[in-house]
Amino acid sequence: MRTLDHFHGGIHPAEHKLESSELPSRIAPLPSLLILPLHQHIGAGAKVQVQAGDHVLKGQLLASAQGMVSAAIHAPTSGTVTAVQPHTVPHPSQLPGLCVHIEPDGKDQWIDHAPLEYRAIPKSELLAKLREAGIVGLGGATFPTHVKYSLATDQRIQTLVINGAECEPWITTDDRLMRERAAEIVRGIEVLRHLAEPAETLIGIEDNKPQAIAAMRAACAGSDIEIVTIPTLYPSGGEKQLIKILTGKEVPSGGRPTGIGVACSNVATAYAIHRFVDHGEPLISRQMTVTGNVRTPQNIEVLIGTPLEELVRLAEPLPGATGYILGGPMMGVHIDDLRLPVVKGSNCIIVKSAKLFPPAEPAMPCIRCARCAAACPADLQPQELHWFSKARDFGKTQEYSLFDCIECGACAYVCPSHIPLVQYFRFAKSEIWQRERETQAAEIARERHEFRMERIEREKREKAERLALKEKAATAAKPAAPIAAPVMINPDADPDDTLQMRIDAAMTRAKEQAATAQPRNTENLTPQQQAKVAEIEARRAKFSELASNAGADDESSKKS
């Protein structure tokens, strides 16, 4: 029996898991439309590879990964790309992002795909294939899996932690997945074990999921994968918290688990890897819990890109919806619009009602009870962070390790004054990021400006050098000049007088040029032309004579 460690704080919110965990999960029918945002993961957005009007097959690449931290996006079914245009994406800002819109043709026709013999290829190739298959962490953070397992040569993974804790209330996707597809998950874990070569593999599952624990135990029988039952406590499903519980090791501030010899992946990620390796299918669907104010809360396997509207309809929403939560009630995003698509990171949609989710109680001033500090799983001082965020003293928030906050919401849950603490922390974080971006932009602008000033200086210098070189060439060619000058304007001049010689040379050149120049148009004329010219000249003389006379007349008339 393994002795478990524990993390600081934690809370016991009402679980609400039984609503959706008892029905077998079903597969959603083909939706009428699929909307696939290009940015569904942490890192750089994918680069679109199709255009409107293209016909795509199920599993065909829509957008390829660009950069190291990125993942590809594939067509979840066969159909026609109707548009590549912005559409509101599941993000707290509710702003539009570029999406590929697909109209399914109903045939659900697969592109050629085959299982992967992953043990026969080098690990780097397998990682590249995971990147091309768009596999990202499905626990919520959507961190590309290939990045997580790209280990430096001196890095060794001691423990591979598989996260089946699923601590957030209402959500039961991992629970159902472990109950129904335990063997498949273990197949995926084998791939991760091949990549990380850990000394031990632990699957952490909260003790409120006894069937899932039993199913996983049965699937792992005979292998050295250990199923560890952990006490139910929110947020034990947080990566850093689960690692602390299972191994007693603490991920250092700003560090990654791989830095302390631990790799951590979600059970749903392991399942997605199994689909790719054993069936050749890229990540095009996932399990989602539909729960809350609906007739039949349940888990549904849904194609990525399905509008939430069509997904919620499958669970028959009840009247009285007051909004929706994408994700869990503790960390999810509150949305009003159901036209948003399902993305790789979506694990749950909760339909809110006034009864299930009463409006937040009005906040009162902080009374410094420090209950939030007692509940904080990251061992921070939320009350201090709150004051500094409120005063916009961002330097101080960073001194108090704001960026170690996992935004789990435990502090706000226990706050007797109902202060929306997490909102303050998110505000402070995004302000700090904004400043960081501005500082970087200023740094680039400074570099560019300095380069420009240097370039202008250099151009000036080069011009001066060119002129000097020309001058030098001219003086070097000087001795030849007097010889070419047969006529001396001033015979008394000193032959060594360079100025005089230069003038002479110039005169000679001018004369030579005049000699070689084209004849003027008044030369070599025919007699008729000469006569005509003479006639015109005569007329011109006459006119000028008349004009001068007229002027004289005017003047004389003025005088009189």
Partner: protein, 191 residues
């Protein structure tokens, strides 16, 4: 008495030599304060402060020749940072000299005649083009300084505000109603 005097003279000569040597050896090139001030400035090189660029303005502040509230792109935060750095009081922007929303220049390519005047005005080389060729702004490098707007002989450059994107979106400052204070129902103990 004399020996004490000699000792004091000796010590002062020795210390003087040490100080003189370190003044040469550890001489600080340039004014480090200028670098610090320059690091706070937003580097738009826009000249709205009345100096030809951020560095000259930083130098002027360091010499005490310029006020700290002359940099609209830096915003009020910029003034606060300068005030903190220099140990002076915060000073609000003058009349009509507030910060503007971030914008980038845009060249109407139908109208551009390819005169290169804007290329010469841009302090960060954010305009691509050549003589008698159409010019265009490299939006990602544009600092929004507006220095290219005035030189354009055909007025084809305009400033376009940057729309908010998912990458630049910020969580708003939490605004919520505080609970109304309830009148105390408990009776005050009578002494």
């Amino acid at each position: 008495m004399i020996s004490a005097l000699w000792v004091m003279v000796g010590i002062s000569l020795l210390l003087g030599a040490v100080l003189g040597y370190s003044a040469i050896k550890f001489k600080v090139e340039g004014n480090p304060l200028v670098e610090k001030i320059d690091a706070v400035l937003p580097q738009t090189q826009c000249g709205q402060c009345g100096f030809p660029g951020c560095k000259p303005y930083a130098e002027a502040i360091a010499k005490g020749e310029a006020d700290i509230n002359k940099c609209p792109p830096g915003g009020e935060d910029g003034i606060r940072k300068l005030a903190e750095l220099l140990g002076v009081d915060y000073k609000p922007f003058g009349e009509g000299a507030g910060p503007k929303a971030k914008a980038v220049a845009f060249i109407d390519e139908q109208t551009c005649i390819g005169c290169t005047l804007c290329l010469q005005a841009c302090p960060v080389d954010a305009i691509a083009g050549a003589a008698k060729q159409m010019h265009t702004i490299i939006a990602s490098e544009c600092t929004g300084c507006e220095l290219c707007v005035a030189p354009c002989p055909v007025d084809c450059i305009s400033m376009v505000g940057l729309p908010e994107s998912i990458q630049t979106w910020k969580w708003p400052y939490p605004v919520y109603a505080l609970a109304q204070p309830q009148t105390p129902t408990r009776e005050m103990p009578k002494s």
